[in-house]
């Protein structure tokens, strides 16, 4: 498949991974007082924090050309190390569960697209968590995308997912949230480059621990409250 088309396919909300059931923490934030006018800033804050971390992990999981020439054993070991590093950056259990759910959904699609990919098959067997950023990086690698493309997809999906949830939670016109998304293109592009650089630096240092670890304590705490709340639309 041509890689630009593959990028579109992976960014398309109609590609089934169960993502529509998640709001990126927006529903919890709305319950805590966030208003329609704040959504763009919320999305932007995610792009600089939690989504930036996810994007660097997707870029790292994608790996560059040199890395992809290595033996499968070493490559799978490196992805499981990414699982562990990402878990250490995800202290709230509801968020770990959400990352697992959408990662597992995406992995199901990936296994259908690239049934013979040895790395995907080995990761599906070995990973107990399958968080979305690592899975997305692996799918990007299987399809021949680059780390920066994997990072861009992660950031775009994060922003688009929150925007889609926003129109169900707040009095907002979807055309307006789409315009917000478009206005964040520069941030997404810059974030993708930063994330790819961070992944390359961590690879050069031979240490996934060197990947970004920006914390978002407010989102972590809100996710716990949201998880226990009744009458919610979104899982997370």
């Amino acid at each position: 498949m041509s890689t630009p088309v593959l990028s579109l396919l992976l960014a398309d909300a109609r590609t089934p991974s169960g993502g529509y059931a998640h709001s990126g923490g927006l529903e919890g934030a709305v319950a805590a007082g966030l208003r329609a006018a704040d959504v763009r800033a919320f999305v932007s804050a995610r792009l600089r924090t939690v989504a930036a971390v996810d994007a660097s992990f997707a870029a790292a999981a994608c790996g560059d050309e040199r890395e992809s020439a290595g033996p499968t054993d070493r490559r799978i070991h490196a992805r499981l190390a990414l699982d562990a590093e990402l878990a250490a950056r995800t202290p709230a259990r509801p968020q770990r569960l959400a990352m697992r759910a959408v990662g597992r959904g995406l992995l199901r699609v990936g296994r259908m697209l690239w049934a013979d990919d040895p790395l995907l098959a080995a990761y599906a067997r070995a990973s107990e968590w399958t968080p979305r950023p690592v899975v997305l990086g692996l799918l990007a690698a299987a399809g021949g995308l680059t780390p920066v493309e994997a990072a861009r997809l992660t950031l775009y999906e994060d922003a688009a997912g929150v925007a889609a949830a926003a129109v169900k939670l707040l009095p907002l016109d979807a055309a307006e949230t789409t315009a917000w998304l478009a206005s964040l293109a520069g941030e997404i592009e810059a974030g993708a480059a930063t994330a790819a650089r961070a992944a390359a630096d961590a690879a050069a240092a031979g240490s996934p621990a060197a990947l970004p670890a920006t914390a978002t304590p407010a989102l972590d705490l809100l996710s716990l409250t949201h998880h226990e709340s009744e009458g919610k639309l979104f899982v997370s």
Binding site: R14, P16, G18, Y20, V102, G105, K168, G231, F234, V235
Partner: protein, 236 residues
């Protein structure tokens, strides 16, 4: 998991309030001693349906799980079944081996139908109180579900509905597929639904089950002015 080894997955769909949860509770009460059963519920806002089923005491609480669907009940059973598929797989892994898992859709409209990736066979539930013209209006659930249940026939005289008309309109739509008119409060009919479930389960075990995928919305809207039938897709 091979088809013979995993549980038969029976989808139960239908509009809000027609008695999907009550039907599943009655089936569990009737069949619980013969079959190892599990239930996955899809609520829009809450885990109310799962709580209702647990409160009925017809099945061990751990055999009933709830999936939340980001206010898209139709999406969760048809367009992107990731969350439900994971719930069924996890339920079977934790409680298995099970013989039948019922997947209850969130109450939706007449265009609801399960994906073949999620349900091996499906029941569509209507009730007399919702209007006796509903079978005539058609739609995929009415026309091509594997079993159509017309519930609450005891209410028909109270709301001026004709059970005969509903059954006969349904028969005209359903090309020989079965329709059962029942009432869960008095004598009737749950035994017939249970017999249908047992027959589906043996066919599944024998590898001879053939389900009719309801597919896209059926044309059912006749325009008087041009006499042409138009496919009439609803969104929820």
């Amino acid at each position: 998991m091979s088809a013979e080894r995993r549980a038969l997955r029976i989808g139960v769909a239908g509009p809000v309030g027609t008695g999907k949860s009550s039907l599943i509770a009655a089936l569990c009460a009737t069949l619980g001693s013969e079959l190892r059963l599990g239930v996955v519920t899809n609520d829009i806002y809450t885990t109310e349906d799962a709580e209702f089923l647990r409160a009925q005491g017809v099945l061990a609480p751990e055999r009933i799980v709830a999936v939340q669907t980001g206010c898209c009940p139709h999406t969760a059973i048809r367009d992107d079944v990731s969350a439900n598929l994971q719930a069924v797989e996890d339920l079977e892994a934790a409680q298995g081996p099970l013989e039948v898992v019922f997947v209850e859709s969130g109450g939706d409209n007449l265009t609801t139908a399960f994906s073949p990736a999620l349900a091996d066979t499906q029941i569509f539930v209507l009730d007399c109180a919702g209007g006796d013209d509903v079978p005539r209006k058609g739609g995929p659930g009415v026309a091509r579900s594997d079993l159509l249940v017309i519930n609450k026939v005891d209410l028909a005289p109270l709301v001026g509905a004709s059970v005969e008309r509903m059954v006969s309109d349904a028969g005209a739509r359903r090309g020989g597929r079965p329709t059962l008119a029942i009432d869960l409060r008095g004598s009737g009919g749950i035994v017939d639904v249970a017999a249908w479930v047992l027959q589906q389960e043996s066919a599944w075990r024998a590898g001879t089950l053939v389900s009719e995928d309801p597919g896209p919305p059926a044309p059912h809207h006749l325009h008087a002015d041009d006499g042409v039938e138009h496919a009439h897709a609803h969104s929820h």
